[in-house]
């Protein structure tokens, strides 16, 4: 199948061709009959110039439109996207029309990343605190032991 770029050029060229065909010499001469009667050769020459200039100017302008809009590049890119999606039967996602809702989806990957990061950090902190708690409990045990030893000394003196 023709590419989008080819299709674009083809339809534009076709319109131009048909327009040129419509503006035939016979039609031109028929409209400018009074001048044609006076100078038929000049009329032919003017018509030829008219056709030539019309085609050249329109082609130049269309080329400018294509360059300005980067149409060739965009058409190629779109053809590639269409090709990549050829096995996709379901309609693809489209903006809902409510930007704040659509923006939520765009934020989801960052939120999920942050969620994962927080889970990891929390796990590390819980582990650190577990070790700290073990040290604290050991310290409390030692203090209790020291208290008991002091109590035993006191009772002995008593």
């Amino acid at each position: 199948p023709p590419t989008r770029a080819q299709l674009f050029d083809t339809v534009v060229d076709t319109v131009l061709e048909k327009l040129v065909a419509a503006g035939s010499y016979e039609r031109f001469a028929s409209c400018y009959r009074c001048f044609y009667k006076l100078q038929p050769e000049v009329t032919k020459s003017i018509h030829e110039q008219f056709i030539f200039q019309l085609q050249a100017s329109i082609k130049e302008e269309i080329q400018e439109v294509k360059e300005e809009g980067k149409l060739e590049m965009l058409f190629d890119a779109l053809d590639r996207l269409v090709e990549e999606a050829k096995d996709q039967q379901e309609p693809a996602w489209r903006p809902s029309g409510t930007p704040e809702e659509d923006a939520l989806s765009a934020m989801v990957p960052y939120l999920l990343k942050h969620h994962s990061y927080l889970q990891r950090v929390l796990k590390e902190k819980v582990e650190d605190n577990k070790q700290l708690a073990e040290a604290v409990l050991a310290g409390r045990g030692r203090i209790k032991e020291l208290q008991q030893l002091i109590q035993a000394r006191r009772e002995a003196w008593q």
Binding site: V126, N129, K130, L132, A133, V136, L137, R140, I143, Q147, I150, Q151, R154, W157, Q158
Partner: protein
């Protein structure tokens, strides 16, 4: 109060009163002072 909802809430909420523990040792030392003074007096008397 935030730490009361953490993984070590039980450990944190059972923290002993360390100031009280130190205060109690003051009592022990006061008691020992009395004991030694008593002992000193008793030995002087026996001597």
């Amino acid at each position: 109060q935030e730490h009361l909802q953490t993984s070590q809430a039980e450990v944190l909420s059972s923290k002993p009163n360390y100031q009280q523990i130190l205060d109690e040792q003051g009592e022990v030392l006061s008691f020992m002072q009395l004991v030694l003074e008593e002992l000193q007096q008793a030995v002087k008397l026996l001597q």
